[in-house]
Subunit: 342 residues, 2 copies
């Protein structure tokens, strides 16, 4: 008699076996989740959506890898606020071409990635529809009251630093799409690893904020130049970035080489990867110079690459100091879904 129906069964499967979260008074399966925010903490909330063919491609990323990246995209937003991830709600729009097994793999990998940073899925929504698969994750976290780090707050003279190797995601896409069919086989394995299992910056962000030296932070999922623009706009400041300081490990250098024929082209290509549209889940931080040594030590102890790439200017200009020492206006193409159509 209880006519559960396939949707209810699918939802029940998706809910079953999720790791329990701390502070969860009512978990998945009711009309809403009930969650206990600790006294003296502010709630921090973000949401991000992945659409098949737009934010990921099924022939390049498995459902599990997509789930991990969806978690990472949201974790990165909370890291930028120096917040502690706690709870998430996931909403799936599922076309015929996606099996329940694939949905489960995506959701489970998302849950595992969240769990590594202390967060649990506490609710969600499932809808079928024609058109591309999409997954929207809303991530909730908390932070000591009044201690969230925002985009605003950068001060002239601050050092600008980035975690990891921005441009890796752009390199992955460019190399993988170079042939037909698209293939990861052409991408250096270190870059594949960075894309399919992005390192979390949650812990290092909290530790850096705890030094008291972080005046502003933003996640660079739009690309370094674009997100630097957002940081400068929010703080009403400018910035000077030194191309020679931009971090590039051998994998990113190899990618730039593969994408261009001559040395000059390779340098330009590398800068394009590092500064242009690339959805790496890394952080750009504006750090008080007197705290730089301590921040460097904190990052090193956590094994996180943290590289000084420039400084904050009082004047609202954005300048790139090229390898030859020339000062160029810093363009910020960013990752712009709507550019192509206008």
């Amino acid at each position: 008699m209880p006519d559960a129906g396939p949707e209810f069964e699918r939802i029940a499967q998706l809910l079953a076996g999720l790791p329990a979260g701390e502070g969860v008074v009512v978990g998945p399966g009711d009309d809403a989740a009930v969650l206990r925010v600790r006294d003296g903490r502010d709630l921090v909330a973000t949401t991000d959506a992945f659409v098949d063919g737009r934010h990921f491609q099924r022939d390049l990323l498995t459902p599990a890898e997509t789930g991990a990246r969806l978690a990472a995209a949201n974790l990165s937003d909370l890291a930028a606020m120096a917040a502690e991830p706690r709870w998430a709600l996931i909403s799936l729009v599922v076309p015929h071409g996606w099996s329940q097994a694939e949905c489960l793999m995506l959701e489970r990998a998302c849950a595992r990635t969240l769990a590594a940073d202390g967060a649990a899925i506490v609710g969600g929504n499932l809808a079928s529809a024609e058109g591309p698969f999409s997954a929207t994750l809303t991530l909730l976290g908390d932070v000591a009251r009044g201690h969230a780090v925002t985009r605003a707050g950068a001060r002239a003279g601050d050092l600008l630093a980035v975690t990891g190797f921005p441009g890796s995601a752009a390199a992955f896409v460019a190399l993988a799409l170079r042939g037909d069919p698209p293939s990861r086989a052409r991408v250096p394995s270190a870059i594949v690893e960075r894309v399919v299992a992005p390192a979390s910056r949650v812990r290092v962000a909290s530790a850096l904020a705890a030094t008291g030296g972080v005046h502003a932070a933003i996640d660079v999922s739009d690309g370094l130049a674009a997100d630097l623009g957002h940081l400068c706009d929010a703080g009403a400041v400018g910035a000077r970035i030194e191309e020679a300081l931009l971090p590039a490990d051998s994998a990113l250098q190899a990618a730039a080489q593969a994408l261009s024929k001559n040395a000059a082209g390779q340098r330009a290509q590398l800068a394009r990867l590092q500064l242009g549209a690339s959805d790496d889940y890394e952080l750009l931080l504006s750090i008080e110079p007197a705290k730089w040594a301590e921040c460097e030590r904190v990052a090193r102890e956590l094994g996180v690459p943290l590289t000084r790439v420039g400084e904050v200017l009082a004047e609202k200009v954005r300048v790139l100091v090229s390898g030859s020492g020339a000062e160029l206006p810093l363009e910020s193409p960013g990752w712009d879904h709507f550019r192509a159509r206008t």
Copy 2:
């Protein structure tokens, strides 16, 4: 130099002019929102997605009406928990066929509907993609610690009551889709009004919970029989529903008449609307009999139709007492997106 790009401009437009919310430390425009939950309150979180062609049809609902319904769907989930809505995050997946003006109308109407219940949009996401438009709203609210009403908790002997007129949304769809092209002109205006601007049950839910007489509640967005099933499952109880008690105003009766040719068919049709799949944002409540009179008074004072439709049984069966007095097993078709494909 700041290459904002069309996507950033679109986002800026969507963020501009949103009403400010209470307890918002950092609002839209940063990596995440920062929100101040009041001490002694639990956080309540839900998410719901609308997909064009699945949860709404552009030829039947305007973007603004769709935005209002999206808000109402989420508000209804919080009402079911007796929670107070506070903040929301909205995520839009936008195909070519949707203009920025339409997105704005949808979002603004969503924000207005939320604001009427004290909640504000504090963040979101915008992505372009081929395929149907979809909008996902995550709604956060709070409730006095430990006072959330859940689906579980119904006790044998409780009275079962519903707000409003479940079946109205199903009547709207059935009548509007009866001709080609689909048209609202065939739908009684009282039903159109209920669908395009669903009444909020947030206030009445809190007031009913404050009587101490509500043991369990669920929103009936899947349809009354299906959601009764969920309530019974969660509480490990059964239920008896009396067909003759199911609320039907003249508009719902007129709809049933229009959908069937003879009197017997009309009665069956009415019951099908009232019990079957229908995404009304009404509540089903399990109420202690000693508190019924007080609950009736509370609802009347707030102008909310509250109708006793049956009772909770200790035995885990679900029974429908038909108009003729016969006891039938109560089926629960529900709103099942995945039924058609299996």
